[in-house]
Symmetry: C2
Subunit: 81 residues, 2 copies
């Protein structure tokens, strides 16, 4: 079976996010007030072939640890199906 | 009130995604079979101050159109709350 997967890669708390900080600093000058705590991560979507959802999740977890994230500074949220 | 917001910025269908294609091409050599259709987008999270959820969503929609996406090649999925 094929399962749709979404992996959200986020910077860990406490890790500086210059891209988010730049967006946040720019917004008031562009007329958008009231936005704070901007953090920019990655949203990776793909299809994975696996016998069941548990196997799909296990494969994606390994994929995240080994390849899609830098575990020193990033965390991944995995959504299968 | 403050609302947590997630904006997922995705490349529109049909727009080439070299980053996703590179991941997909690399995976078999790393021992991960059965992954296809990899698309890499952005996941932007922040807090927005607004009187209610409708107003928050309206503000974020404007923000996406004007600033967070390139509407020629990108789409945004907005989740408020």
């Amino acid at each position: 079976m094929k399962f749709p997967v979404l992996v959200e890669v986020k910077l860990r708390e406490g890790i500086a996010d210059p891209q988010g900080a730049t967006i946040e600093r720019a917004l008031p000058a562009l007329g958008f007030a009231g936005v704070e705590g901007v953090r920019v991560g990655k949203a990776i979507r793909f299809m994975v072939e696996a016998p069941d959802e548990t196997a799909a999740r296990a494969l994606v977890t390994k994929l995240c640890e080994r390849f899609l994230t830098n575990p020193v500074i990033e965390d991944a949220d995995i959504t299968v199906g």
